[in-house]
Amino acid sequence: MKTLPIESGLLLAGVLFTLGLISVLIRRNIIFMLISVEIMLNAAGLAFIMAGSRWVQADGQVMFIFILTMAAAEVSVGLALILQIYHQLKTLDSDAADKMHG
């Protein structure tokens, strides 16, 4: 394999992360927000793998495993909460859950 500069890899990770960020900020639907958070997590994991590959150590991949685990747990709990919100508020609009306003 040819060597490739790490900047392009990290740049990819950055671009993916930014796209996920834009999506979180734009979307009003809660499920879309969740999906966008997954994109962001994936991008972070990509950055870790790149770092591990650059130093030829297993640590990057170990970190990615942890991120993966966390994302799985988070998605399951988040979806359970989304179900509850849907049953309470009868809508998936995140702006409808604004009872904590000042």
Partner: protein, 628 residues
């Protein structure tokens, strides 16, 4: 025996304390016994102490309880100082006070605040005793303020009626004006002498000040200001007629016998200063003379029985001030003692009359009580005779005569003082017997609802006897020259040097004085017994003057216009409270910021995420571009 001196003020204080703490829970009889018992014991100890003091013939006796405080060169002690002047005062206070307490047990027996009344009375007596027994001016000021406080509490005793509260407040505020002047006087004294011990000041005064020194005159005027407030002289006399809103025993004790004489006591005590400040002393006399005329004229027009007596008190204290003004110290103290007897008697019997006629205060609605209430009639008559200075048989004659004589013949006396005093005697006789004739003679217009019992009549009788025979301890030269009283006081208070060549005129002057007082009585007789219509005609003819005198020479209106109205206007203008606005500004600023920032909490999730992102960008920017 003299070592029991400290008990004299302490016993009433303990009585007051016990009554304050337990008054509402103990039966009325017990409260009465505690209240009267403490004063009675005090009076007994006074008698013992006095006998011991006079028998051993010492000049003074001092007892220090403890040192009150130490501040930068001033360390007044709680020290009681007994000499002949304070002996006279504590005798009058405890003895007359005891009689008034006994009277009050019956007078106040249907009142709910019975124990409270006695607590206040005891506290008052304690404060007054501290005032006269004080060794230094700081302790005297304590007693001074204490009597002011108790006066306020007692005038406003029936506080559920608004006007009583107003009267009490008026008394307190007006005397406060005088107290401030006195406090400034104390400050000046301290700055000159670096001590406030009375005896030290009196000893050092001739060495520090020459006669007519400006700071002596200043101190004299300031102390006079304080005395004028407490003793209800011009210009601070407007509180005393309104203070009649209190119960009659209060008027008798405080506003006849004791508190209003505190000013007399102060000036007499500091006589050394007044001897060094002739201008101040002259003004003492001028104020006394003007006040006695003013109050006498006002007393002629009043129809409320107690108000006549109030103006009469102001007038008689004017006599005392006049005596002090010409340097007749012991004459003033003698008149104080006799005045305490007959004025307390008059107030107590007036209270008995008012209570018998079911709280009727208007003289012109009374009448014909001569046959119905004989004991009260005779005691009242004796008191009135003493007040009018009926010649030879009443004590009032001798005390007032001495003042008249020394106003003319004393070294600092002059014609004007004498004429003022003489006119005052005439007016006094007139209004006194106007009071007697209208109240007790003629036909009864109100019927008697309650006869006074023994506890009220016995003190009246005792005081009546004293009003008659009390004068015999001090007879003038021409009538036997008994000088028991001034002998007691002479080591302390210097005798009055007379002008040259006037000694022979003493007999003439006495005749003139007697004639004036008898003439006044006769005119009152004409106007109110023989031809009552004459009084009404005169009143309608001189309506303007009559109303003017009735309103106390319109001083109340003047004070209202000069002081009260601008003050009320200012406080209305400041209703928004300029200074408070600053603090509310702080509050409103905080509220404003709160309202602004609370809008960032709108509950919308995306908003929060955006603020997190913005914060992250900010941090990264700072860490990138601002190198630490």
């Amino acid at each position: 025996m003299l070592s029991l001196l400290w008990l004299i003020p302490t016993l009433p204080f303990l009585g007051a304390l016990i009554l304050i703490l337990t008054g509402s829970r103990i039966p009325q009889r017990v409260a009465a016994r505690i209240g009267c018992g403490s004063i009675g014991l005090s009076a007994a100890i006074t008698a013992l102490v006095g006998y011991d003091f006079l028998a051993t013939g010492q000049a003074s006796y001092k007892f220090t309880a403890w040192t009150w405080f130490h501040v930068d060169g001033l360390s007044p002690g709680v020290t009681f100082y007994l000499d002949s002047l304070s002996l006279v005062f504590i005798f009058v206070i405890t003895f007359v006070g005891f009689l008034i307490h006994i009277y009050s047990t019956e007078f106040m027996q249907t009142d709910e605040g019975f124990a409270r009344f006695f607590a206040y009375l005891n506290l008052f007596v304690c404060a007054m005793l501290i005032l006269v027994l004080a060794d230094n001016l700081v302790l005297l000021y304590l007693g001074w303020e204490g009597v002011g406080l108790c006066s306020y509490l007692l005038i406003g005793f029936w506080y559920s009626e608004e006007k009583n509260g107003y009267a009490a407040r008026k008394a307190f505020i007006i005397t406060r004006v005088g107290d401030t002047a006195m406090a400034i006087g104390l400050f000046v004294l301290f700055s000159v002498f670096h001590t406030l011990n009375i005896q030290d000041i009196l000893v050092q005064a001739p060495q520090v000040w020459t006669i007519g020194a400006s700071s002596a005159v200043l101190v004299g005027f300031l102390l006079l200001g304080g005395a004028v407030g407490k003793s209800a002289q011009l210009p601070l006399q407007t509180w005393l007629p309104d203070a009649m809103a209190g119960p009659s025993p209060v008027s008798a004790l405080i506003h006849a016998a004791t508190m209003v004489t505190a000013g007399v006591y102060l000036i007499t005590r500091m006589h050394g200063i007044y001897e060094l400040a002739p201008l101040a002393q002259q003004w003492v006399g001028i104020i006394g003379a003007v006040t006695l005329l003013l109050a006498g004229c006002s007393a002629l027009t009043q129809y409320d029985l107690k108000r006549v007596l109030a103006y009469s008190t102001i007038s008689q204290i004017g006599y005392m001030f006049l005596a002090l003004g010409v340097g007749a110290w012991s004459a003033a103290i003698f008149h104080f003692m006799i005045h305490a007897f007959f004025k307390a008697l008059l107030f107590l019997s007036a209270g008995a009359v008012i209570m018998a006629l079911h709280h009727e205060h208007d003289m012109f609605r009374m009448g014909g009580l001569r046959k119905k209430l004989p004991v009260i009639y005779y005691t009242f008559l004796i008191g009135a005779a003493s007040l009018a200075a009926l010649p030879f048989i009443t004590a009032g004659f001798y005390s007032k005569d001495q003042i008249l004589w020394l106003a003319w013949a004393g070294e600092r006396g002059n014609l004007w003082f004498f004429i003022a005093a003489l006119t005052g005697a005439f007016i006094t006789a007139m209004y006194t017997f106007r009071m007697v004739f209208v109240t007790f003679f003629g036909e009864a217009k109100t019927h008697i609802s309650h006869r006074p019992g023994k506890r009220m009549t016995i003190p009246l009788v005792i005081l009546a006897v004293l009003s008659l025979i009390g004068g015999f301890i001090e007879l003038p030269h021409t009538l036997g020259h008994v000088t028991l009283f001034s002998n007691i006081l002479s080591p302390l208070l210097p005798a009055v040097p007379l002008r040259e060549g006037v000694e022979s005129t003493e007999w003439t002057l006495q005749l003139i004085a007697a004639a004036f007082s008898l003439g006044g009585i006769y005119i009152a007789y004409i106007f109110y017994i023989q031809q009552p219509k004459l009084a009404d005609d005169l009143q309608s003819a001189t309506r303007g003057v009559h109303q003017f005198w009735f309103r106390g020479w319109d001083l109340d209106a003047l004070y209202d216009f000069v002081f009260v109205r601008p003050f009320v206007y200012l406080s209305k203008w400041n209703k928004g409270d300029v200074i408070d606005r600053f603090y509310t500004l702080l509050v409103r600023l905080t509220e404003y910021f709160n309202e602004t920032f609370v809008r960032t909490q709108n509950g919308i999730l995306r908003w929060y995420i955006m603020s997190i992102v913005a914060g992250a960008i900010l941090i990264i920017t700072i860490s990138l571009f601002i190198q630490p």
